[in-house]
């Protein structure tokens, strides 16, 4: 069977599953009437996301529900099989790129571009399979499939099962569209689609207000990035006359790099990168990702760790031809990546919620990927993306298993000593933690080490970037093992009731953990360091496999001066630091558990700063919100006095408005940018609405004023 020509089917299988769920899902899984106790919001809150699993009322579900458990993971499995088939056949091709174009999606009329050439903005509904998208579809379908399987167990007792799987399938559809698209416009379809699904899934537990707030936040932040992204797409079109990846790369191939300064190429690349920072949670748009963890844990694993958030990295790697021409933007990418990595790692130091540690860890690891991309080592970025997908998905699923075992508790201070009670979870998580810490032999070591080496040796890299990366590696090892020690070692700090119920998860959850653990070990061996030249070629397969994707200019960057001795030395240093990090964590949290508190006390303002995420949200607050709320209110007051009625209606509205302001003020102590933007928009919204006083002759006066301005404009001109 020719899988290569059938790649367009790969996204369609999950779409089929999703449509099926929306059409008949409700009949397969009739919603049971909620028991009175489950309707109590406080109780639901108290029991956390696994409410009702162990305690209290078990809703009885229809037997047809099992059908859902077969259909939805099944569609992803079919996609996985098709992906494997297609990638295997791709490997046999001489030209490592295969396009399947179904039809022209967005037809464009020809027009003359600046240089006289005739451009035609035509975007296909077309799919491109090349080594890069091959890696991505394998990651998405493989990890996606196991997370689907895991969800069968994890979501087993939830209502809205069909909705959950419908959204999840829809997400896989959009993600596959994103990575398989052969042009920027179709990529944008997937880009928006995954955002939408992420939104719906974050808000899945809608009885938690914070969840639906987090969803809005995620969507709005992503939208800021998207506005830049879409402008970037149009810029690319204006530059090259096409949006097809292969043609764009070809068109850019002839150009010389913009070394002279910040030109139009750099601007385009920067616009795309702003889009990427939104989706991939980089400074300053990272704020949404930690909040996104309000969604169900499998969602965090799939969307907010393994796949969607890496879309930005994928897109930057995809646009490598453009970035190679814009060294200034590459420097920006690398710097933002490194800063995000160390910044997020420092916040992860002091978090006590197990999922939040992982969330900040994800932000930090994404920073690593951008660091690699920024120094021109695109294959390393993708390599880290690849290994990270395994161990981070595993960590999230493992934490889900822990939370499951603890009856919904997410605070690590109330855990401990779980090592023997949930052994499978423990062992698999330990593997993942070793991997992320960078212990040799585990996947994370290979990719992270390569990133550090490239940061040091690449012509775009620098010692400073390397130093930041290395320090981050130490911090990563520390906070991950802090998590491990707090969770699995020591005394169990849970209350008796919870303690009695601690149990290992069912096989439907632990099997995916085991498979991913195997991946977390093995995935790295596809790209061993160059210094390990004694190993046969297949151990260097990853770089070789991706090679056809990069245009020549980008590839040279990876070929920096290669000194084996230096590489061994740097590798040794990073391993040493990783081990040190683990040992410090062990010393602090196992041997001297009283120490951390004393350090926290002794550290002065540092610890609270970390605990409060460097007060970023509060700084946003102080700088903008306070001023706006008070100043804006005053301006509004004057506005209302001066203009229109100034009368009864206005006053009534002002009261409501003022109370709304003070209401928001409270919630903002814990919230940042998005609320700020939303607030700013609202602040403008009210005066605009005030103009609409409901008084018909005022409308007429405005019409006339409009005419007066129009006429006046011409008379003065």
């Amino acid at each position: 069977m020719n899988f290569l020509d059938a790649i367009w089917l790969i996204p369609l299988f999950p779409l089929f599953g999703a449509v099926l769920m929306f059409l008949i899902g409700r009949r397969l899984d009739p919603q049971p009437e909620r028991s009175p106790e489950a309707l109590e919001p406080e109780l639901a809150e108290a029991m956390g996301e696994d409410a009702g699993q162990e305690h209290g009322h078990h809703p009885r579900f229809a037997p047809t529900r099992r059908l859902i458990s077969w259909i939805c993971p099944g569609t992803v499995l079919v996609s996985l099989l098709f992906s494997i088939g297609a990638v295997v056949q791709l490997a046999g091709l001489a030209e490592k790129a295969h396009q399947v174009i179904l039809y022209t999606w967005l037809a464009g009329l020809p027009f003359h571009m600046g240089d006289g050439a005739v451009g035609r903005f035509a975007a296909d509904l077309g799919f491109l399979l090349d080594p890069l998208s091959g890696v991505m579809i394998l990651v998405v379908t493989f990890v996606g499939f196991f997370i689907h399987v895991y969800s069968i167990g994890y979501m087993g007792h939830e209502t809205g099962y069909y909705r959950f799987f419908g959204y999840l399938n829809l997400f896989v559809f959009f993600m596959l569209t994103l990575v398989l698209a052969n042009n920027y416009a179709l990529l944008f379809v997937g880009w928006e689609g995954v955002g939408l699904c992420s939104y719906l899934l974050i808000g899945f537990y809608f009885h938690r207000k914070s969840a639906s707030d987090a969803g809005i936040k995620a969507f709005v932040v992503n939208r800021i990035g998207d506005a830049a992204f879409i402008l970037g797409i149009f810029m690319i079109f204006a530059l090259t006359g096409t949006v097809r990846f292969l043609d764009v790369n070809q068109a850019l191939h002839g150009l010389s790099a913009e070394t002279a300064g910040f030109g139009v190429l750099s601007l385009t690349a920067l616009l795309l990168f702003v889009g990427a920072t939104g989706k991939s949670a980089q400074i300053p748009l990272y704020v949404w990702l930690p909040d996104a963890m309000e969604g169900p844990t499998p969602v965090s694993a799939l969307i907010h760790a393994a796949t969607m958030v890496t879309a930005g990295v994928y897109m930057v790697a995809r646009s490598n031809a453009l970035y190679s021409l814009a060294p200034e933007t590459m420097a920006v990418v690398a710097t933002i990546g490194a800063l995000t990595a160390i910044f997020a790692a420092s916040i992860a130091f002091a978090q006590n919620d197990i999922k939040r540690v992982l969330a900040y860890s994800t932000v930090s690891q994404l920073g690593y990927m951008f660091l690699a991309a920024g120094v021109g080592a695109y294959w390393v970025a993708i390599f880290h993306l690849f290994t990270h997908a395994f161990f981070k998905a595993l960590l999230f699923l493992g934490s889900g298993s822990v939370i499951h075992a603890m009856g919904g508790e997410q605070d690590m201070r109330k855990m401990g000593g779980l090592k023997d009670k949930i052994p499978t979870t423990f062992w698999t998580m330990a593997v993942a933690s070793l991997a992320i810490a960078g212990i040799p032999g585990f996947a994370g070591f290979f990719s992270k080490d390569e990133i550090l080496w490239q940061a040091w040796s690449s012509p775009y890299g620098s010692k400073a970037l390397w130093a930041v990366g290395t320090v981050t590696a130490l911090m990563t090892a520390f906070y991950m093992w802090r998590l491990m020690y707090m969770t699995f070692w020591g005394e169990c700090r849970a209350d008796e009731h919870t303690k009695a119920h601690i149990h290992e998860s069912p096989p439907v959850m632990t099997v995916p953990l085991t498979v991913l653990a195997a991946g977390s070990v093995l995935a790295g061996w596809l790209g061993v360091p160059k210094a390990w030249a004694f190993l046969p070629g297949s151990f260097h397969a990853f770089e070789h496999w991706l090679e056809p994707v990069w245009v020549a200019a980008a590839h040279e960057a990876g070929q920096g001066a290669h000194e084996a001795a230096l590489e061994w030395a740097l590798m040794g240093l990073s391993v040493l630091l990783a081990v040190a990090g683990i040992l410090i964590a062990r010393y602090l949290y196992v041997q001297r558990p009283e120490l951390p508190d004393r350090i926290a006390e002794a550290s002065g303002p540092l610890y609270p700063a970390l605990l409060n995420k460097w007060y970023v949200d509060e700084i946003y607050n102080f700088l903008f919100v306070d001023g706006l709320a008070k100043g804006g209110g005053r301006v509004l007051g004057r506005f209302d006095q001066a203009i229109v009625d100034g009368g009864v209606n206005g006053a009534g509205w002002m009261t409501r408005f003022a109370s709304a302001v003070s209401g928001w003020w409270d919630t903002w102590i814990v919230d940042g940018t998005v609320r700020l933007i939303a607030f700013a928009v609202k602040m403008i919204s009210y005066p605009v609405r005030f103009l609409q006083t409901g008084f018909v002759q005022q409308y007429a006066a405005v019409i006339l004023a409009g005419m007066a301005v129009a006429l006046g404009y011409y008379l003065i001109k």
């Binding site: 209606n649 008084f695 006066a701």
Partner: protein, 103 residues
Amino acid sequence: MLYPITTIHYVILSAALLLIGTVGFLTRRNIVIILMSIELILNAVNINLVAFSERFQAMEGQIFAIFVIAVAVAEAAVGLGILIALFRNRETVASDEIDLLKW
């Protein structure tokens, strides 16, 4: 300037009537009078049209004026109908008292 009477005199007359109609529309409270002000505006248009029609020695302007009158009549009829319905429910014909819909 004032004599002989040319088209422009009519146009200025029309503009003045338009202005008065507009002022009436914008300032009066009574909706009946607002509707009457609309009649003034449309009459201003008609003066224009008839003046031009005479100037071009063609009938189009007059015909246009007939249709403008037809439209004015139709608007007045529907407007007064709506006004009666409004008055039945609200007991007022003051423009600034009908502001349920706003913001």
